[in-house]
Symmetry: C2
Subunit: 436 residues, 2 copies
């Protein structure tokens, strides 16, 4: 029963379903690990040990409940839970108990998942630095806004944790913490019960330590159970590298990671792996995403601005004020532009390319005191609504992880999982192949 906490979600789920391990023992291992590591890393906003233990005991006694039977799960504190406080990362909601679970949380419980606790989110999933630090080195940020989830999974406290991405809040912390992060297609997982930030962009997903893990998480959260049957690729995929318009901002370690990704892709791709330039309709996606996000945030958080302005951070107030000043015509034309960009990419991803590979972040994690890092390499993909997976591929000058993201066409989540697994298995470093 030693080291159960180091099992991946997929390994643990199999062993639990076969009754080879007990949910209670797995949970106790995770709690042990949390006891040792909570203080330096601080990924937890709250823990529900008693409820979790009682749930684990029931699961050990009863029938196999579903895909997540007996798995301890961390839930980003942006998701409503009826039995754990939900603060949305803001003092306004300290000790707030929602009356109902977020839909995705209810689905995970129905699948036998044990909600062990809530993981730290930045303030309303925006940019104020959280208390959580990078588990690989405490001076650095784990990224944001799903800071606690990425850190808890990277640090073996839970095998699976939920996240949400409006700009780059799943892929970026996954890259900084060296875990697999999956942001499925926009709308794949219902957002009901998750605090809205920018509803045209808000996308739910999860973190795990392998492609199979995140498939399992999203399968339960979306109710699309077939996602866990990750198929071998029948045909070699056509793979392109997309450096994006913001490539000049990339660090050396990100450039090296992308070169390594290209090398890896070449071994599984059909034909050459060339640089892909997005269609003209995709020009300025990053700025478009930032404006839509700011404009929608100013409405989504209007109540808090009207009633609790003093409990909002100055930087959030600033962003909300700027967002409220964006003219509706600008917002509307940004939405029209988005539709046209999405349709141009649909063509590209149907006709020319199956998988795009792109940077996940500027580089390795910056210092915690400098913020949660820049989501610039994720903004456009989030706006396009495309499914993205971060894989750990390399490391930077401080020895911290550096990831890249694989991207597929809208709705091709299942195919993306297959491609990500094939890619992970082709990585030159055998230790990184565990991510498959």
């Amino acid at each position: 029963m030693k080291d159960l906490e180091s099992l991946s979600a997929t390994q643990a789920a199999k062993a639990l379903a076969r009754r080879e391990i007990k949910a209670t023992d797995l949970l106790l291992s995770c709690l042990d690990r949390i006891g040792q590591r909570e203080s330096p890393v601080k990924p937890w906003a709250s823990l529900g040990k008693e409820n979790a233990l009682s749930c684990a005991k029931d699961l050990d006694k009863g029938a196999i409940k579903g895909l997540l039977h007996g798995l301890p799960i961390g839930v980003k504190d942006l998701f409503d839970t009826y039995d754990l406080p939900t603060s949305y990362g803001s003092p306004i909601y300290a000790n707030h108990y929602p009356v109902v679970d977020a839909v995705s949380v209810a689905l995970m419980r129905q699948a036998g998942g044990i909600i062990l606790g809530k993981t730290v989110s930045t303030e309303f999933a925006t940019f104020k630095p959280p208390i959580t630090v990078n588990p690989h080195h405490g001076r650095f940020t784990p990224g944001g806004s799903s800071s606690g989830s990425a850190a808890a999974v990277a640090d073996f406290m839970v095998p699976l944790a939920t996240g949400s991405q409006t700009a780059g809040s799943i892929i970026r912390p996954a890259s900084y913490c060296g875990v697999v992060g999956f942001k499925p297609s926009f709308g794949k997982i219902m957002t009901a019960g998750v605090k809205a930030l920018a509803p045209s962009l808000d996308t739910l997903g999860c973190f795990g330590r392998s492609v199979g893990d995140v498939a399992l998480g999203v399968a339960a959260m979306s109710d699309d159970h077939d996602l866990i049957n990750i198929k071998d690729l029948h045909n070699k995929p056509r793979i392109g590298i997309c450096k994006t318009e913001d490539w000049s901002l990339a660090s050396k370690e990100t450039a090296a990671a992308l070169a390594l990704a290209r090398f890896t892709a070449e071994s599984i791709a059909k034909g050459a792996v060339n640089d892909i330039h997005l269609p003209i309709e995709c020009k300025d996606l990053t700025q478009t995403q930032a404006r839509i996000m700011s404009s929608e945030m100013s409405r989504a958080l209007l109540f808090e601005r009207m009633h609790f302005a003093k409990k909002l951070s100055p930087q959030l107030i600033k962003q909300l004020t700027e967002g409220a000043q964006i003219h509706y015509d600008q917002y509307q034309s940004d939405l029209v532009k988005t539709l046209s960009a999405r349709s141009s990419l649909k063509q590209l991803l149907n006709q020319e390319i199956d998988i795009l590979i792109a940077p996940s972040a500027l580089g390795e994690a910056p210092l915690a005191k400098e913020g949660t890092g820049d989501p610039v390499f994720c903004r456009g993909w989030t706006l396009l609504g495309l499914p993205c997976i971060n894989l750990n591929i390399s490391h930077g000058p401080n020895g911290l992880p550096v990831g890249i993201q694989l991207i597929a066409g809208f709705g091709k989540d299942h195919f993306l999982l297959s491609a990500a697994r094939a890619f992970a298995l082709a990585l030159p470093d055998p230790a990184l192949r565990d991510q498959a």
Copy 2:
């Protein structure tokens, strides 16, 4: 100061902004009317008289706050309000006080609207008959699920009330009650803080007694203030009649209403007003909508099904159970079909036709004991995400109102308002032209 409650929202808003009438007096007139008529019609789930009066007094003393300055508003009890109980039409949530307003409610308050009370919704906006009856005749239904909002506006209790439509919950009650109902383009108004039923379909809107009224309501709820500037049509629109695949279900009064709509349209249309058949991609839209709705409902209301099954109506339990049995593959292919139908209609509505006219409901309101009526003539348009406006055009054998709906291309909400006004002004019955 007599009869202030009979002013339309547009008339009242103008008089309030010019300080010709006081918010307090308008509110007292509405409360008088409610006092007389609440008992037979029952549109209110709760009223916040004291808060509303104190808010009205503040508005009378202070500067003009915004578009809705001093207007008393009914909010469907599916929308969260921090100062009024929010039951979602279900005993599960009796005396539930959310901690925060729905985004659209916060926007209405910011614009100076006075939230006078919550209007009756059917159980989670589904099909169980509500206590509210049709204000024109108490034996008949006001329609659903926005039952109380449509009835309260029709009965001059408030000039404006909010609604939501997942199948036909704005357009159908508007038709049954003889008021103007506006379901804007999908996504136009943020749904955050409104209980989710089927997020791919849930669309917010409002009821008023004129096209200007609903423009005012949606302008405030969406923050797109320019919507209130309803422009004269520069060019005659190309108008088509769309009887839809379900035409065989239409009653005689609906057939007569559509004939009258065609006659009216001919006087404002460019060229002949012909029957339009939707592209082949739109086949079986009604069934597709019903499946997507049932499938998503089974997830959206999973928590209530897990924890409070005994407090759900048998008919809702049945629908949720059936929804949960829809295979995810079917759901997914229905979503893909929807995208293709939307894109086929985008072409039609760009290249051939500017405005479609279609039935709003099978006929006049059925008996209250028979349910809230069939949303069949709305399901497809909701699925397509197109903006729809109901106008009262005729009446049925029981003397109850019969409406038709005008429909424009996605995102063309502003143009639809212009066309609806031109159409209303062309109606042969001068009394109905007030709807412009």
